[in-house]
């Protein structure tokens, strides 16, 4: 087989796998929003771009045109809601084989490994770049910042990369499913069970001085479902007669929930066996002798019956949590913050929370209905309904994905094992986003990478506010928690280097080495932009749409035009046009105007 045909085969793999993915239970089949006179019309390309910033990993000119052609957002959503899920695990597994990332030094195949971090990140970026199920993937990324696990050092999961991937697939699979079902699968996933020590949590044993572990009990309430204070439907805090917030639970409640989450172990493992070897993909299994069968008093005094199995108790406890009126505003508001705006009005939160509570068919927690409500809300679609502080800071990961999508990042070709390039594990080659920097260390520079938060509290808290005017006015700006001298410089240098040094006016021809015999690097394809740069106005018009939703301010346009038209600065001909294209992209994507997604 020639090199090229092998490549073509590899490119085809995700599609095949997607088809497999569709057999997974994901509730998305046959779902349709009705198209009526009330459907939301896509008025122009700028609006389409704005919508795609929220619903995908970044607009491209092609997708903007397609959305405009669809005429209504509902048409586009109907397509998205029915695309089979692109699951990550099957592709990570294949790539791990090719990279020998799952082979021990003595040649034995490992169940899981640290080195699978490379295929995991590779597949993650490939997916957000190329997969058709953009909305689902975008929602999965948002959910991964609520139902947080992390591979970061010292948090216990770094050697369990296959497990982490399989956890992420749970989010992908349920992105259009039901939050209650998602919650149960998350609770019983071994990655979460390791991360928040739910596995091997045992009932009280007075003789040995043991009582149940409170870790999962606390965080499932505080972070995954209801939060610490009682909320109104619109997300604002309820206050008592003294004007103080009302706690949703106390330490005793946590101790009671801790009892619920006892008696779970890795599938097929003995209770006390070494857990590193245990199955970290299959859901946990109940071991009744370690389960606490006493009566437990949960939220709002609601009690469980005694002598129930671990699974019955778990189901009932999750039902009780899910019934709490906080879940809808607590989760809805955070999803709005991840997709649309940091400070949604209470009305916006209420409208979405109502849909969370009832999708129209009397079902609570339908995430399809919730995401539709978020994206189609009048506050999201109509600038007339927005305050001047509407919008959110783009997350570092989304800046990068947008850049790569808008300007067609093309992966370079590398062969074989990551460390020892001659070791090919017998066959194959693989695509790799190969730069001077490592994909897995994008977070070292920017403060964010997929499943790389520093703790279960995510990269930033939903209510973070930077020192100064925003905080004084009680406004949140979560993403600013990772903006500082260190990350501003790190992100800027990372993106600038990609734009200026890893881009070309011609598409990349995949090869092992470049014309100079050096290992080939991935690069952006600026063919279109280079042609347009013959005329500054045309270049800026093109970039305005794909980067700024056709809302480039007059001052920015004037500054860029003046700079780019100083012809003595740039070379003549195509070389100079490429220089100008890079220059305009660099300045626009660095500008505050771009960084605040509206």
């Amino acid at each position: 087989m020639s090199m090229k045909s092998k490549i073509a085969l590899w490119l085809f793999v995700p599609l095949v796998l997607s088809a497999c993915g569709s057999s997974a239970k994901d509730d998305s089949n046959q779902y349709r929003l009705p198209i009526t006179k009330q459907s939301h019309k896509v008025l122009n390309q700028g609006d389409a771009a704005k919508f795609l910033n929220r619903a995908t990993f970044g607009p491209t000119t092609d997708e903007i045109k397609r959305l405009v052609d669809y005429q209504t957002y509902e048409n586009w959503l109907n397509e998205q809601l029915n695309i089979p899920a692109s699951l990550h695990s099957p592709r990570v597994e294949k790539l791990a084989d090719k990279m020998c990332a799952n082979i021990d030094d003595d040649g034995t195949k490992l169940k899981d490994s640290w080195e699978i971090i490379y295929p995991r990140h590779q597949v993650w970026w490939e997916t957000v770049m190329n997969s058709k199920d953009q909305l689902r993937q975008r929602l999965a990324f948002a959910l991964s910042q609520i139902l947080v696990i992390s591979e970061s050092d010292g948090l216990g999961l770094s050697d369990l990369q296959s497990s982490i991937t399989s956890y992420y697939d749970v989010l992908v699979k349920h992105s259009f499913g039901n939050y209650r079902e998602l919650l149960e699968e998350v609770t019983l996933h071994p990655a979460m069970a390791d991360f928040l020590s739910m596995s091997r949590n045992q009932k009280e044993n007075k003789a040995e001085g043991i009582r149940p572990d409170e870790n999962y009990a606390r965080e499932v309430l505080q972070l995954f479902t209801i939060g610490v204070h009682e909320l109104n439907l619109d997300g604002t805090e309820k206050l008592d007669s003294k004007g103080k917030p009302i706690p949703t639970y106390n330490q005793k409640t946590i101790e009671e929930f801790a009892k619920v989450f006892t008696g779970w172990n890795y599938a097929g493992a003995k209770w006390n066996s070494y857990k590193g070897n245990a199955d970290h993909i299959s859901p946990l299994v109940a071991v009744e002798k370690y389960h606490d069968i006493s009566q437990k008093t949960l939220l709002k005094g609601e009690k469980t019956p005694t002598k129930r199995t671990a699974k019955e108790d778990l189901g009932l406890a999750l039902d009780i949590i899910f019934k709490h009126s906080n879940v809808a505003p607590f989760i809805s508001k955070q999803l709005i913050q991840r997709l649309v705006t940091s400070n949604p009005s209470p009305d916006y939160v209420r409208r979405v929370a109502q849909v969370f509570n009832n999708n129209g068919d009397g079902i609570k927690g339908d995430l399809k209905a919730v995401v539709n409500a978020i994206l189609l809300d009048e506050e999201a679609l109509s600038t007339a309904k927005q305050t001047e502080n509407f919008g959110k800071l783009r997350e570092p990961v989304l800046r990068l994905s947008h850049l790569w999508r808008a300007f067609k990042m093309q992966p370079a070709l590398r062969v074989g094992h990551r460390w020892e390039s001659e070791k090919t594990c017998g066959y194959g080659n693989y695509y790799y986003f190969n730069f001077w920097t490592d994909l897995t260390c994008i977070s070292c520079k920017t403060g964010q990478g997929p499943l790389q938060a520093k703790s279960v509290f995510n990269f930033f808290r939903p209510d973070y506010s930077p020192n100064g005017t925003l905080n004084d006015k009680g406004l949140s700006a979560p993403e600013f928690q990772i903006v500082n001298e260190s990350t501003i410089v790190g992100s800027s240098n990372l993106l600038h280097t990609m734009i200026t040094r890893f881009s070309d006016s011609k598409p990349l021809v995949p090869a092992l080495t470049d014309a100079k015999g050096k290992e080939q690097k991935s690069q952006l394809n600026l063919a279109i932009e280079t042609v347009l740069a013959k005329n500054t106005e045309k270049l800026l018009k093109h970039l305005d749409l794909v980067l700024l939703n056709d809302e480039m301010s007059d001052p920015l346009k004037t500054i860029l035009t003046e700079h780019l038209n100083k012809d003595k600065n740039f070379h003549d001909g195509e070389r100079g046009q490429l220089e100008k294209a890079r220059e305009a992209i660099l300045l626009i994507t660095s500008s505050p105007e771009y960084l605040i997604q509206r």
Binding site: G156, P212, R218, G391, L393, G474, F480, V483, P592
Partner: protein, 467 residues
């Protein structure tokens, strides 16, 4: 700003401050006071610090996740040890493994031999039984629900905020941190009072946020870098025109506060980074050996470089903030905690040796903090969120080789237990701990009272562990 905005939030940061220091009733009287006036009054108060001529650096090492201080610093005297062993059951450390401290009544965890030496040579002390408190409280008051307690005890995020500010956010407005508030005033001692003087190696921390923008985030690799594309250079040949365009872009006004915030972040970075890069490049080589694969050590090495250029930067007073994660030992504690403490030991001792190498051991004080201690009772494989804990203070100015504060009665369900699981009620408040450090930095009693909102509720205004 005392009008409710459209989201029904009406409390501004300055109201918040006033509420802290004056009580809620006073806020309406002073509601018209502008933030500018508040800063001016802070400047006026701080005028007494312009004369500070010596150098002092304060270094905070925050142990994120809740350090199990009860296994870091353990009873060693036989009876006390036996009681410990009984209560801690599976999480109890063996007596033989412990490193006894002078006096042989208490001991450190086996991972801390260098810190044991520093203790025994009086360069390090233990501040015991400290935690989040608004005022002293008792088991009875806790159980009757009559105690005035910090909100959301036992929650990581809320207790981190309390430890770093003395309170928690109200109506979405976050309080300033006491590290930042100290530098608001103390920066007057520095040659360039408006230059950054509070350096974090741990991203944005509440503790470093004062009212003035004096905080600066360093990276643990090089300390500080520049944005190469916007740095003065003769390459590419359009660089000057690019810089000119960029300066215009970040100085373009915009009605959105989010845009303004981003522009401000760029302008701040632009104005403050250049000089630091230049001076840091002139830092002397540190010969003390630092451990590898130890993020805290990497950070402390950058801190020592920053301290070495204090005169070049005109610093008389500066503060550093570092964090170390991985302390939330619900599971696998015996193994994980041992690794954590080893890293802490290695990082701290290297840093102490560096301060000796630089001749600043007496003017650099390092202290640990953590959002809570852990439950004395165990879950079989670890411990859960507690309340009181112990902390370490290190440096030539520390009256080392001593334990400051009375230890809790370690009995489960005993007189110091909030309930029956060994979440001990702290005897000393974070405010007292912080106030001791602030006084060492040279702050007046009045300013210390202003910074620590709960200090007025405690009899002892400091805990006595510093000269």
């Amino acid at each position: 700003m005392n009008q409710p905005n459209k989201y029904g939030r009406k409390e501004s940061r300055r109201n918040f401050l006033k509420n802290l220091s004056l009580g809620v009733g006073a806020s309406t009287v002073l509601a018209t006071q502008s933030k500018l006036q508040l800063i001016q009054s802070a400047v006026a108060q701080s005028s007494s610090y312009t004369g500070l001529n010596d150098h002092k650096s304060l270094v905070c090492v925050f142990l994120n996740g809740g350090n199990d201080a009860f296994n870091m610093f353990v009873p060693y005297e036989e009876n006390a040890y036996n009681a410990y062993k009984k209560s801690r059951s599976k999480m109890a450390l063996s007596r033989e493994s412990l490193l006894p401290l002078s006096g042989n009544n208490q001991a450190f965890h086996a991972s801390m031999p260098d810190l044991q030496s520093l203790y025994n040579t009086k360069k390090l002390g233990v501040v015991a039984n400290v935690g989040a408190l608004i005022k002293p409280t008792t088991r009875t008051a806790y159980q009757n629900e009559t105690a005035h307690l910090p909100a959301d005890l036992f929650s990581h995020s809320h207790q981190q905020e309390f430890w770093q500010t003395g309170t928690t956010a109200k109506s979405s407005v976050h309080p300033p941190g006491w590290g930042g508030r100290m530098m608001d005033m103390l920066s007057a001692a520095n040659t360039h009072p408006n230059n950054p003087s509070l350096f974090s190696l741990a991203n944005n921390s509440v503790w470093s946020h004062g009212l003035k923008p004096l905080d600066f985030v360093l990276n643990q690799y090089s300390g500080v870098d520049e944005i190469h594309a916007f740095k003065s250079d003769d390459w590419p040949r359009w660089q000057n025109s690019r810089i000119d365009a960029w300066q215009k872009i970040i100085k373009t006004s915009h009605p959105s506060l989010l845009n303004q915030e981003m522009a401000k972040a760029y302008v701040n970075a632009d104005e403050r980074i250049g000089v630091l890069v230049e001076k840091l490049a002139q830092a002397q080589e540190i010969t003390t050996v630092y451990p590898k694969e130890n993020n805290l050590a990497d950070g402390l090495k950058i801190v020592s470089k920053m301290i070495s250029i204090r005169e070049k930067l005109g610093m008389k007073r500066q503060i550093f903030f570092l964090t170390m994660g991985g302390w939330d030992s619900h599971g696998n504690q015996l193994n994980d905690h041992s690794v954590q403490l080893k890293k802490l030991n290695d990082a701290l001792v290297s840093f102490y040796k560096t301060t000796e190498e630089l001749g600043v051991a007496d003017s650099v004080t390092t202290f640990t903090a953590s959002e809570f201690g852990r439950s004395y009772s165990t879950n079989g494989d670890g411990t859960d969120h507690g309340w009181a804990g112990h902390n370490l203070v290190m440096g030539g100015a520390v009256k080392g080789g001593e334990i400051y504060g009375d230890l809790p009665d370690f009995e489960l369900n005993g007189k110091d237990d909030a309930e029956d699981t060994g979440r001990f009620i702290p005897k000393y408040g974070v405010d007292q701990y912080g106030a001791t450090l602030a006084q060492w930095m040279g702050m007046s009693a009045g300013d210390v009272d202003e910074i620590f909102p709960n200090l007025k509720n405690f009899d002892a205004k400091e805990l006595g562990f510093l000269i």
